[in-house]
Point group: C2
Chain length 448, copies 2
């Protein structure tokens, strides 16, 4: 009898695993249960749908359900929710098509994703108050903006979702107020990035309310005001983007261990404490390449890569899921902001490093070549070993240079090694010393 691989959740990790398993072992029965109707969609593209740069929500779908079923021969069942896992008997309990049934598995992947956190705000259920974590909600925001033409928006949370939505709603002609509880936006990117981004957001007309705790929303039926500290001000639409939490309850209820982050604990092959039960994507932990410790950084590449590796593993050719460096990049109007590894000195000390950081600014192109702009690069290293720990890049062009730093982290390079990397130079693309090299050069001086 053929082996059965059951996947819970039809987005990046789940569908990557299903596709890879079926391709690697066409004899395997691969069943995916997805409780919604959307599969394999680019959640990261939703702000650009709201903005109007992506015309159709369907454009965000990488592979359609029909393609999975017909071309990839995956038994994809949308509208089916897995409500229980029994690792002892190797079965899951599924609700769908008006019935409840059991499905046995030889290998199981839990890829249940994450959910936007709903803080204990008043008025969260008012019309016009949204979180943004799935396609239906993106659609609802777009419709609301189109139908109501709001004058002003309250965006709660200065993370990348909040910033992308600020750009999207500004482009739609809405007066955007962004509320952040902490002293800076983009907290995981560090202060050097935050300050550049905040200046730029203000230049673009976004009203920033930093160090400001929103308590909720008021309105008759629809949201009319946002309340914060002891004040309130008008808001015709509100978006709450204060982070996500892993959907780990299904796993926890089945006795699958969670890690300290609250996401599902996994080993280097993505296995949980039950050997034939795997977890990947936004619901799972992954190992950080710098600290060597489990971490929870719910991002698309991690999900895709881990899913693919698990698909290969269950097909009989074990493949580690790979580490993460927490690399992220975000567009804020005309700016790119990027981070990788450890960028917070306190966090680095907690991981037993002795951190030294530098921040430099340098032109993105040769100083005499037209059209460039300033790039601000931060690098952090361990004083004793010279090992690179992380970095950030922010500027109008070239934020993707964070990949140089991310690659160096993956390779475990020291600062002198990075400083000696033979990066590409020509006047339209870089100064002779790429800004990343300049930062490494300056940091090296601090390590002596």
């Amino acid at each position: 009898m053929n082996e059965t691989f059951v996947v819970v959740g039809g987005d990046a990790a789940g569908m990557s695993a299903a596709s890879k398993a079926k391709r690697a072992n066409p004899e395997m029965d691969v069943i995916v249960f997805e409780k919604g109707e959307w599969v394999s969609y680019a959640a990261c593209g939703m702000p650009y749908y709201v903005k109007g740069e992506v015309e159709d929500l369907d454009d965000l779908v990488a592979v359609t359900p029909e393609e999975f079923r017909e071309e990839r021969d995956v038994d994809l069942r949308t509208g089916h929710e897995v409500v229980g896992i029994d690792p002892e008997t190797g079965t899951v309990t599924v609700e769908g098509d008006g019935e409840t049934f059991e499905q046995s598995y030889d290998h199981l992947l839990v890829a249940t994703g994450a959910t936007a956190i709903e803080p204990p705000f008043d008025g969260l259920d008012l019309d016009g108050v949204f979180t943004i974590h799935d396609m239906d909600e993106a659609d609802a925001i777009e419709n609301y903006v189109t139908e109501r033409s709001p004058d002003s928006a309250a965006i709660v949370g200065g993370g990348y979702v909040g910033i992308e939505l600020a750009e999207a709603l500004s482009a739609r002609g809405v007066d955007v107020h962004l509320y952040e509880m902490l002293p800076h936006v983009l907290q995981p990117f560090g202060d050097a990035v935050a300050e550049v981004v905040e200046d730029h957001l203000r230049e673009q007309g976004v009203q920033l309310h930093l160090d400001t705790a929103v308590s909720g929303f008021d309105g008759a039926e629809r949201v009319e005001r946002v309340a914060f500290d002891d004040q309130s001000r008008p808001a015709d639409v509100a978006i709450v983007g204060v982070g996500v939490e892993p959907n780990a309850d299904l796993a926890a209820d089945a006795g699958i261990e969670l890690g300290e982050t609250g996401a599902i604990a996994t080993d280097e092959y993505g296995r949980t404490n039950h050997g034939n039960v795997y977890a990947a994507g936004d619901c799972a932990e992954a190992r950080h390449v710098v600290t060597g410790e489990p971490d929870h950084v719910p991002l698309a590449l991690t999900a895709n890569r881990a899913g693919r590796a698990i698909g290969q593993t269950v097909a009989g050719d074990p493949e580690p899921v790979g580490g993460i460096a927490g690399t992220a990049i975000v567009k804020a109007f005309g700016l790119g902001a990027a981070r990788t590894g450890l960028v917070d000195e306190e966090q680095a000390r907690e991981a037993d490093f002795d951190p030294v950081s530098v921040t430099i600014s340098a032109p993105s192109r040769a100083h005499y070549y037209p059209g460039g702009d300033e790039l601000t690069v931060t690098l952090m290293a361990d004083h004793d070993t010279g090992r690179l720990l992380g970095g950030t890049v922010v500027g109008r062009e070239g934020a993707k240079r964070i990949d140089t730093v991310a690659t160096a982290l993956t390779a475990g390079m020291t600062v002198p090694e990075l400083r000696n990397a033979d990066l590409a130079y020509a006047p339209p693309f870089s100064p002779v010393w790429d800004p990343v090299l300049t930062a490494a050069k300056v940091l090296e001086g601090r390590l002596e």
Copy 2:
């Protein structure tokens, strides 16, 4: 008595070394002899001066002679040519200011650069026939184009200088014909890049004559025709850019050993066979990080980095000059083309590797995000070890991603290691799998 550091040649390597030595050891006497009048200038910027994007040749000067003398306290003597080196007595013979004198040194750096190769063409001395390797020549080309408004140009050589000049002269309204002896332009970038670049050059109106050997130029006083194979055609201006050769005669005459490449042989600290005589920049060899063998790749970053390291070494704190990966990037009208490491299978076999290559095309941004373009990425690896050997990237945006590959080469990464690098993703910057990762993924499949 203070130690004396003498530097021959006042461009990237020489001035980096002089500045660093003086900064690291202010007690040291640092003397630079430069036979011309320009120092520390960006030769790579000259095409953009001809194009008209850089207004003034002085804009290409990173640090002026006055700044070197006054702010950096370097004894810079322009118009002084070193005509002999005696490593036994530790002296150089110098001509300048109408006299010849001896200067003793404790440490010597030979940074004599390279010269544009002059092939045995007829009519090289006609007015309107240029090579481009120094500022005076860039100025002469610019003046000639301004004064004569040539209808058509013959550019001989499809390397990066030829391509940059093709762009520059096209922008000046000149009908450009580019002649290349080999079947493809940009030979060191491999066929995959060449084909994309050639299509683009043709779209931009450049007439390509590949596989075409120019024999020379005809004209009464000024160039009027270019002769090739058994034909000729009109050319009102001609630029010969067929490569450079190291200026190694001064060193060779002094018994300083040259390597197989014809450039000055050096060890990991940039030392020649005479322990206190160093060589760096376009006249010197450097060690290739992939082959481990000496190579001659005359590029600006290598010169700057080696000069800086040697300056630090002679100041008493020895610093290796670092390896090279042969990383290069060139703008060809709207395209960026980049390379690093080994990209030619035959060359890889000569270096005892068993090369496997793949070429993939992928979008530079998420498929649904507006404004991206196709990137073509080639990666090569050693079959037995999986070690990454080199790669190329070409496209309208994102050619700087070659830095990811260059960093991986510097770190000695394997293909699976690169494939697991946590690179940055957001829809405006990349697909989920960066094109470099996609190439690594496909190449990994070929290694199995």
